[in-house]
């Protein structure tokens, strides 16, 4: 009796973590290829180098912002305020650029401001014991409100010559610096997720918060770290977006709320936490960016695009739920 209990068939125990991940990576990659092929046939302008440069420029901000909030979602929480942090950091940065002599020193300032805003989110979430959904929905409104007051409701251009080079310059030909930044940050963040204590704790807290707490992991502290990282990268994304656009306007970061969630979830990071990771978010961002760009080129109206994207998010969650039938979506 005992013997049968403890000896599962060898074939079943052969499935290891790495092959399980590989299997679920297939679908998003297939979607990228499928979308690429579809738009190449449907439009003349999709498969061109000029369009590649345009897409990667547009996707840069999205990628950087998503990479941070992937950690929050991986922990089983959610950060709805990244778009608002981008707007607030962007607005503040433009004013600082125009009224101080910071110059390129604005970069660390913007990152720090973003990290601070994120840490505030995290602290309220953790110490107030309020669902992160509610906290960041609230701060979404607060941050946007402050930003719009700073901008007085209009777009403000920065006057620093050459600052836009950090975003639209091309260190590597045809690849805008903002996309290059995104890729470098991606590599860095994947390393953090896979090889560091912070990364491991992120998975553990997302997979079993009670288990982690019971084993003495400082869950609350690491939750704040995750929100701070999410804010920090939103800040970096914000300043680079401003550099790319030459100005900060009221609509900055507006589409990031849905797009970032969509990209993370489509990439395969589970909203329940503990499954996925930033390495997958790159693919999710590619899907969303190609979808955006391709639909634009095909002349699909903005309103129809909203419908498509919303549907994609829901479909992605449905598909990912099938893979992990036991996970409870919080």
């Amino acid at each position: 009796m005992t013997a049968t209990v403890d000896a599962p068939p060898a074939s079943r125990s052969k499935v290891s973590l790495s092959t399980a991940i590989d299997k679920s990576l297939w679908l998003p990659i297939a979607v990228v290829l499928g979308l690429g092929l579809f738009f190449s046939f449907e439009t003349d302008s999709f498969a061109t180098i000029r369009n590649f440069t345009a897409v990667s420029g547009q996707a840069g901000t999205l990628l950087i912002v998503c990479l941070g909030s992937t950690f929050v979602i991986l922990m089983g929480s959610i950060d709805l305020s990244v778009g608002a942090i981008v707007l607030l950091v962007g607005a503040s940065s433009v004013q600082l650029l125009n009224h101080t002599a910071l110059g390129n020193g604005i970069l660390p300032v913007a990152a720090g401001l973003g990290a601070l805003l994120g840490a505030i989110n995290g602290a309220i979430y953790v110490f107030g014991r309020i669902p992160s959904f509610v906290v960041t929905l609230g701060s979404l409104s607060v941050f946007s409100g402050i930003a719009l007051q700073i901008l007085e409701g209009r777009a403000i251009q920065f006057t620093l010559d050459g600052f836009d080079e950090i975003a639209i310059g091309q260190l590597i030909p045809r690849l805008p610096n903002i996309a290059l930044c995104g890729l470098v940050i991606w590599a860095l963040v994947v390393f953090i997720a896979q090889r560091t204590r912070f990364g491991r704790y992120t998975y553990l807290i997302g997979g079993g918060e009670t288990v982690a707490r019971t084993a003495g992991i400082p869950v609350r502290r690491y939750k704040i770290y995750a929100f701070a990282l999410s804010g920090l990268l939103a800040g970096v994304g914000g300043i680079l977006a401003v550099a790319r656009l030459g100005a900060a306007g009221p609509s900055l970061g507006q589409d990031l709320l849905l797009n970032s969630l969509a990209a993370i979830v489509v990439g395969g990071t589970s909203l329940a936490g503990g499954v996925g990771g930033p390495h997958r978010t790159l693919i999710g961002v590619l899907i969303i960016a190609i979808l955006d760009n391709g639909l634009n080129l095909m002349g699909v109206s903005q309103y129809s695009q909203m419908i498509v994207k919303g549907g994609v998010v829901i479909a992605a969650v449905l598909v990912s739920r099938e893979r992990t039938p036991t996970a409870v979506v919080k």
Binding site: M1, T2, T4, V5, D6, A7, P8, R12, S13, V15, S16, L17, S18, A20, R195, T196, R197, F198, G199, R200, Y201, Y203, L204, G207, G208, T210, V211, A212, R213, T214, A215, G216, I217, P218, G274, V275, T324, T326, A327
Partner: protein, 542 residues
């Protein structure tokens, strides 16, 4: 092996009959071809160790889970409930081990839950007066002292248990129009105080006149006193069918564990004399209002302190409090020679404490993650990261491989997902998480719950190995034999307070009866007597 009485053509049809019930979870068979019969107007008991399959059996009977194979007949008709609702509608009701009452509604709503539609007037409006009257009739029949208009949560645990028992026992009869109910009682008395227990025994005596009851209890005296038929379950199989006249506690016990209790099962000879050993853990005035109050205890290095008590005794909450998992309202804990502080699990883990929770799958391990990840989980701050916060993956895999070998974790590899391991091997992973840290103090809450007999034995040996190394162990357990066999001293808790300290030296272990007597609120034996008097079964009470 099991003889069942012949039920010839002239016999009254049985109230309930099951044949070949089988249930498997993953690779574990929890019920293996279980068949039994419940005649009319009888109390049928199931006894067995934790994990023997009693709860699964009740789950199948009450429709909560479905059997993989087997048939059930209720009143001679096929019975395959798809949920608890359908089961209750056909006259099978149950008192669950965990209370299933809604706290913030009046008692009468709980009593009549699921029967609301009988009180609906003109479709939607509910006849409150009729409901209250019906509920009062129920309470009176059950003989419990409860105002049905009061909020359910205002009553203490024992009263709420009585309410739940009254609902399960009487609602089908009074409201459901069921003439011959079958009531499943899962450890119903463990939470009752004396007066409610008397009422309970009177109630089941009354109920026996119309229906039958299935009864699960760890209190073998109670089982022997109330049952007409006793089935013994072991490792998912029915091993014996007895009448109380044929059985006594010792016989039941040896059937349950499948062997007479060998003296070295708990390695009692290896129990250490710790009088001179330094104190490894000192708890002073620890309180958490509502759970436990003013707890003082000391554990020497190499000593095992057992804590026993009923479900509501607060012993599990105390374990969490001492380890610092849940906050306390007052008191301190000191590890080794360090100063006394408010317990905090993060700090204590760094200082050499380990805590194994009772709920393995929700608190003990992240089963969808790999063995290595679960093993290294508590050591991310020191063992498995370097000065830059980088994870030492090679060391992690090596450590996992070492403990897989040392603890004989079957079908274990560092990268195997823990859902694929059996309960016993999962528990070994949780233990290895602390072993790799060379702990000084371990708080173990039911370390062998849901663990098969083989792994259990290995865990006992492991505990002795640890005490040899001078590890102090706080053992919180529901299993009496384990409590007696492993502990140097036994502390008994009732309602959040330590009521007794019983020495348990290797050569002079206290008896189970003595321990149980301390665990129960005073006067339970009186309640049993009042029951036997009520049904005229005086011959069965010893």
């Amino acid at each position: 092996m099991i003889q069942t009485p012949p039920s010839g053509p002239g016999a009254v049809p049985l109230l309930f009959q099951a044949e070949g019930l089988t249930k498997q979870y993953e690779v574990t068979t929890v019920l293996d071809r279980v068949g039994f019969e419940v005649p009319h107007n009888k109390i049928v008991s199931f006894v067995g160790e934790n994990g023997a399959g009693k709860s699964t059996l009740f789950n199948i009977l009450s429709g909560v889970v479905q059997a993989d194979a087997g048939t059930m007949l209720l009143h001679g008709r096929p019975y395959h409930p798809t949920g608890y609702g359908p089961a209750a509608a056909s006259g099978v009701t149950r008192v669950f081990q965990e209370q299933s009452l809604v706290g913030n509604v009046p008692v009468y709503e709980n009593l009549l839950l699921g029967h609301d539609h009988r009180f609906a007037r003109a479709g939607q409006f509910i006849d409150r007066k009729a409901m209250i009257a019906a509920a009062e009739a129920l309470v009176e029949a059950a003989g419990i002292d409860v105002d049905v208009r009061r909020r359910t949560a205002d009553y203490d645990f024992s009263k709420r248990q009585s309410i739940e028992i009254a609902r399960a026992c009487l609602a089908p009869l009074h409201l459901g129009g069921i003439a011959h109910p079958l009531v499943l009682l899962d450890e119903p008395t463990s939470a009752l105080d004396r007066r409610d227990e008397e009422a309970f025994f009177t109630l089941i005596a009354k109920l026996k006149l119309v229906g039958s009851l299935l009864f699960v209890s760890h209190r073998l005296t109670e089982v022997l006193a109330v049952s007409d038929i006793i089935y013994v379950l072991k490792d998912g199989e029915l091993v014996e069918r007895l009448t109380p006249a044929e059985a006594d506690e010792n016989l039941l016990h040896s059937l349950m564990v499948g062997r007479t209790r060998a003296a070295d099962y708990y390695h009692e000879r290896r129990q250490r004399d710790v009088a001179d050993a330094p104190i490894a853990l000192k708890v002073a005035g620890l309180s958490n209002h509502g759970a436990y109050e003013d707890i003082d205890l000391e554990i020497h290095a190499g000593e095992v302190i057992g804590i026993g008590g009923l479900l509501d005794s607060g012993k599990s909450a105390l374990g969490k409090g001492i380890a610092g998992v849940d906050p306390v309202t007052a008191g301190t804990v000191a590890l080794g020679g360090r100063s006394a502080v408010r317990p905090d699990i993060g700090r204590f883990v760094r200082q050499g404490l380990g805590y194994v929770p009772a709920e393995r799958l929700t608190e003990g391990m992240i089963a969808p993650f790999s063995l290595a990840w679960n093993l290294s989980l508590a050591s991310g701050a020191d063992l498995f990261t370097n000065a830059f916060g980088l994870w030492r993956r090679k060391r992690e895999v090596e450590t996992a491989a070492r403990y897989i070998k040392e603890l004989a974790i079957r079908s274990g590899r560092p990268e195997v997902i823990c859902t694929r391991l059996s309960g016993g091997n999962q528990q070994k992973v949780v233990l290895a998480r602390w072993l790799c840290r060379d702990p000084k103090v371990l708080v173990l809450d039911n370390p062998t719950r849901g663990v098969d007999a083989g792994a259990k034995e290995e865990i006992y040996r492991l505990i002795r190995n640890l005490t040899d190394l001078g590890v102090a162990i706080l053992l919180i357990t529901d299993e009496l034999l384990e409590l007696v066999g492993l502990s140097n001293r036994i502390l008994i808790m009732q309602y959040g307070r330590i009521v007794a300290e019983i020495a348990a030296p290797a050569d002079d272990k206290p008896g189970e009866r003595e321990i149980v007597a301390w665990m129960l609120p005073q006067g339970t034996s009186d309640a049993l007597e009042s029951y036997t008097a009520a049904v005229g079964l005086a011959g069965h009470a010893h």
